[in-house]
Symmetry: C2
Subunit: 222 residues, 2 copies
Amino acid sequence: MQRETKTHEITVDVVIFTIKKGKLQVLLVQRSKEPFINKWAIPGGFIRLSENLDEAAKRLLYEKSNLKDVYLEQIYTFGDPLRYPNSRVITVAYFALIRSENLVLKFDKSTDNIKDVSWHSVYDLPSLAFDHQTIIEYAAQKLRADLDHSSTAFQLLPQKFTLTELQNAYEIILNTTMDKRNFRKKMLSLDILTELDEYSKTQSKRPARLYCFNEQSSICKS
Amino acid sequence: MQRETKTHEITVDVVIFTIKKGKLQVLLVQRSKEPFINKWAIPGGFIRLSENLDEAAKRLLYEKSNLKDVYLEQIYTFGDPLRYPNSRVITVAYFALIRSENLVLKFDKSTDNIKDVSWHSVYDLPSLAFDHQTIIEYAAQKLRADLDHSSTAFQLLPQKFTLTELQNAYEIILNTTMDKRNFRKKMLSLDILTELDEYSKTQSKRPARLYCFNEQSSICKS
DNA sequence: TCAAAAGTGTTGTCCGTACACCCATGA
DNA sequence: TCATGGGTGTACGGACAACACTTTTGA
């Protein structure tokens, strides 16, 4: 990180959320060099001159997770002069939502200066580099605020899901519990779900009906 | 603006809102040089290495309006590679709310490269430089979204105000009309207003009771 | 036949909305 | 005395919250 302290640098950092093992988790990378060697951090990187901020976030996400077509949202821009030691780095924070089933972690230790990559529950984070603790808190707060007003939760579920799975996602994100009947009534009244003629054949006792999410009232593919 | 195109630059732009003549207005500056000579723009500028983003916005606001202690909120960060001709400038947009009564416009034509400064209704904007039209739309949208959830509207009113003035502010910002009885009932039920033993002595016929806003339930100074 | 999760309705409360008239004052 | 804006209450409907039992299946 040789640089003079005369200029600002600007990065994009991406808080990657998934639901895994019944918990809301974020993808963290462990740094293999100073500053904050061995500390965990959210993935990020510099913005190329040719790309806009969303594209930069998308590229970083692809580099880490191999995933495209992921839900991404800008959260906030952090620019405290002291957030980065020995240089001025302003970062535009994003969050991404991915279905953990799809994920193939992909990282290159030599070029990325990363020692390890893994998931961590948002309620049990290791010691984090920079102001990344704050960024994750902002991200989680925005994710929760988004839940009501959009199609956010579906981004974390497989294409076909049961109402119980959907409710679990809400409960995990909001860290609360909800009444089953009220939840179903509400969801079904929103006209955003298509009832499929398929049932889950999982470990449970009674098979549950599967639904899919209609974005823009298009019919889900069966 | 001598620079190479190899680096990003980062600025803060501030959409300054006020209510004036019954309209929601923004402060715009007319550019006296290229690019976009003669076009109007929202005030902005570079971030100093020693200041964080909020401080930069605060300073820019002070330089333009002479006001301190103003309500400021980060909106969004815009970074399209083409938003600025011939260079890459990423901007962190803020909005500010000020009481127009207090305002003394202050600008220095020679150093600011500004030809003129004036207020414009958000519904009747001149042709704007860069992507500033988009930024103002984002700002107005966020301002409207904030109205319910916080003390936002009070930032645009004098310390003591009548319920009709408050309602007018809401109506102007949301570009709608509201029922007087319902509005008053709602506002009074929120426990955020202190009823004063004072009445407006303005042009109107019957004097109206004045209220003030209790931030954190502190008593307004009389 | 049992265990485990799926599925299903009703009731009360609260909040938002619609709606019209009298009051106090200055000119 | 009149014109102008200030000030007030009620009734309806929709949304949300609380609450418990039956059904279906696999083991």
